[in-house]
């Protein structure tokens, strides 16, 4: 009886959240899913007739090219983000000023996302801060084109999602038992070895979360390539927006979104599974020892 009661309470407690998720997450995704199988109306919107046209249209070389480019940009950006985030969160976790440093990481969120992207134009532009600085110290004579290419997109993605990688990494590193590093050194590992072989495997869950938190928003990004990207850095998000707003092909933008959602979900599940089995192995080895 008691257990039954408890269960009921749980449902009541989670009811507002379930309601929120259903109304603002599940239903919209279902709408996108349904729209992707309908016929398009040329004025925008859909006609209530079943059609697979939207999926047929995906089989074109340009679309595949854009998906590959988007993958490339998001993978490179995620790698850089995590590489930068690990030492940063390590430093914060070991610092005396943890609270202040974490606070500093959060401060940029007080400024609007778009404004922060525009700020990069002032930094990387031809008359921007970096170019002027390099010209003033005499390192270069003419400005270097830094903006409006896919590397600018990658830099700004790294900047934008770095905090999302630092926070989960920090929380796992903070729990890490640093005496293990000393033990490793005692047993003859170099400083580098002890970090690579002892610390990194132990903070793997944090790394996984950090990669996902960067990769997923990067993959679906629209604003960053729009503002700092060049004539060739079209990403999937831009194609979806173009189909929706200019060509008025709602089913096609819906089908692209569905395919992306399915691909990302499969990718994420595989990635998490892979990491889980590895961490499990480590745990097992530890237990054996």
């Amino acid at each position: 009886m008691k257990i039954f009661k408890k269960k009921n309470y749980g449902q009541i407690y989670t009811a507002p959240l379930m309601f929120w998720i259903t109304v603002f997450f599940v239903i919209p995704i279902l709408i996108i899913f349904v729209f992707s199988f309908l016929k398009k109306s040329y004025t925008g919107g859909v006609l209530p007739q079943f059609s697979l046209d939207a999926y047929g249209a995906l089989a074109n070389p340009q679309f595949v090219k854009v998906v590959l480019k988007t993958l490339f940009i998001s993978i490179v950006a995620s790698i850089f983000t995590v590489l930068l985030a690990i030492p940063t969160s390590y430093y914060i976790a070991r610092s005396k000023y943890k609270d202040i440093l974490l606070f500093l990481i959060i401060i940029p969120f007080w400024t609007n996302f778009l404004i922060r992207i525009y700020a990069w134009i002032a930094i990387l532009g031809n008359n921007g801060f970096v170019n002027n600085f390099l010209i003033n110290i005499g390192l270069i004579e003419e400005h270097v084109q830094l903006l409006y290419n896919q590397w600018a997109v990658i830099i700004v993605i790294v900047y934008a999602y770095l905090p999302f990688a630092i926070l989960p990494l920090y929380s796992t590193i903070e729990k890490f038992d640093f005496s293990l590093l000393e033990a490793a050194r005692d047993l003859g590992a170099t400083k580098f070895q002890s970090i690579m072989k002892v610390m990194i495997p132990n903070i793997k869950p944090g790394i996984t979360t950090a990669v996902l938190f960067t990769f997923i928003p990067a993959f679906g990004n629209y604003a960053i390539p729009e503002i700092v990207g060049g004539k060739d850095s079209v990403m999937v998000g831009n194609i979806i927006a173009n189909q929706l707003r200019v060509v008025r092909n709602w089913p096609l933008s819906a089908s692209i979104s569905v395919v992306l959602t399915v691909l990302t979900t499969i990718g994420v599940l595989l990635f998490v599974q892979l990491n889980k089995s590895k961490t499990d192995e480590i745990r097992k080895i530890k237990e054996d020892v």
Partner: protein
């Protein structure tokens, strides 16, 4: 404590009074493009008729149409462009106008009506503004150029040019330059336009519909394709001296934005008054002066104070972008080939 009660009482009373006041006023609900009417004009209208205007904005025809179609009711007037006027007529979303209440239509240049027949006899729409995107060049960096699309190929401008991220506008320029219609559905002509745009693409920095004005002001871009109001609103007076805006001689795609009354409008009477008010010469002059737009209102031309950055004669070779229906896919295919490559 007593004081507090009195204070709250007074505040409530004030609310009640002000509530009564606004409730008495008639309301007109306008759904318009962002930055498309000076605040002063709205204020004048409110004062003249003792009414209240509730103003809401959209950023594209598609957005406006999707919202109204999805059941967004409550608006009296909206401002669709050419193709959407015809779509909205077909869909039965518009109310027929009572022209006896719109004597100021007579002020509109007859040439405007002759440019297109998206609304034959103009039974549903009154033109608000006619214009086109053009090219703005920074004369500090380019001295010698022809006023047409050949500037896009100038080697000294390499990496300093932006084109609108809008397929109808960019392909429209290329089509017009080669003597074709901006509404062509001939694949051969579109292919030739594509080849020209690909040549431009080699020389430009990016396709941009958001930030080209800011980039031009910052000196990042020296030649931008787009609407002049988006560029000049970013410039200070000395920068304006150096900026030269022109519509290519061979023409470009152009648009007419119209005022229409929605079928389910609650206040059609007041909506007619508003449309008529806009075409009062003094009011229209204020509007076009604010944006340095060309004036389609003939008497307003003689009383306006600001010279427009381009005028109707500059648009003589321009052509209205019509609704292409299913054929928009042809343009999209060519555009994807330009943007992404084959």
């Amino acid at each position: 404590m007593k004081k507090l009660f009195v204070f709250i009482g007074v505040i409530l009373a004030l609310f009640a009074i002000s509530g009564c006041k606004t409730a008495k006023k008639e309301k007109l609900y306008i759904y318009n493009w962002t930055y498309y009417i000076p605040d002063e004009v709205i204020k004048d209208f409110q004062e003249k008729y003792g009414v209240e205007v509730v103003y809401d904005v959209f950023a594209s025809n598609e957005e406006m149409y999707a919202k109204l179609k999805a059941g967004g009711t409550g608006y009296d007037i909206t401002f669709p462009s050419v193709d959407y006027v015809s779509i909205m007529i077909k869909e039965g979303m518009l109310a027929k106008l009572d022209k006896s209440k719109l004597p100021n239509i007579a002020n509109i240049d007859p040439e405007v009506f002759s440019k297109a027949n998206y609304d034959p006899n103009y039974e549903y729409s009154v033109p608000y503004m006619m214009g086109a995107a053009g090219i703005t060049v920074n004369k500090k960096y380019v001295k010698d150029y022809k006023k047409d699309v050949s500037v896009f190929l100038k080697p000294e401008l390499k990496g300093r040019i932006t084109l609108l991220d809008d397929m109808r506008e960019v392909l429209g320029l290329a089509l017009k330059y080669q003597g074709y219609s901006v509404n062509t559905v001939n694949e051969e002509e579109l292919k030739k336009a594509k080849e020209l745009v690909i040549k431009w693409k080699d020389n430009i920095q990016k396709f941009d519909a958001e930030a080209f004005g800011k980039g031009f002001a910052a000196g990042e871009f020296w030649c931008v394709h787009g609407y002049q109001e988006n560029v000049f609103s970013e410039l200070d007076d000395s920068q304006k001296q150096d900026a030269d805006f022109f519509i290519p001689e061979q023409g470009a795609a152009m648009y007419i934005d119209s005022m229409v009354i929605l079928k389910d409008a609650k206040n059609k009477e007041l909506a007619h008054k508003f449309i008529n008010f806009i075409h009062e010469p003094e009011v229209y002059a204020k509007f076009v002066d604010f944006f340095a737009f060309p004036s389609i209102n003939v008497p307003a031309r003689s009383i306006r104070k600001v010279t427009p950055r381009y005028d109707l004669p500059d648009l003589k070779n321009c052509e209205i972008k019509l609704d292409l229906g299913e054929n928009i896919e042809l343009y999209n295919k060519v555009w994807q080939e330009i943007r992404v490559g084959n």
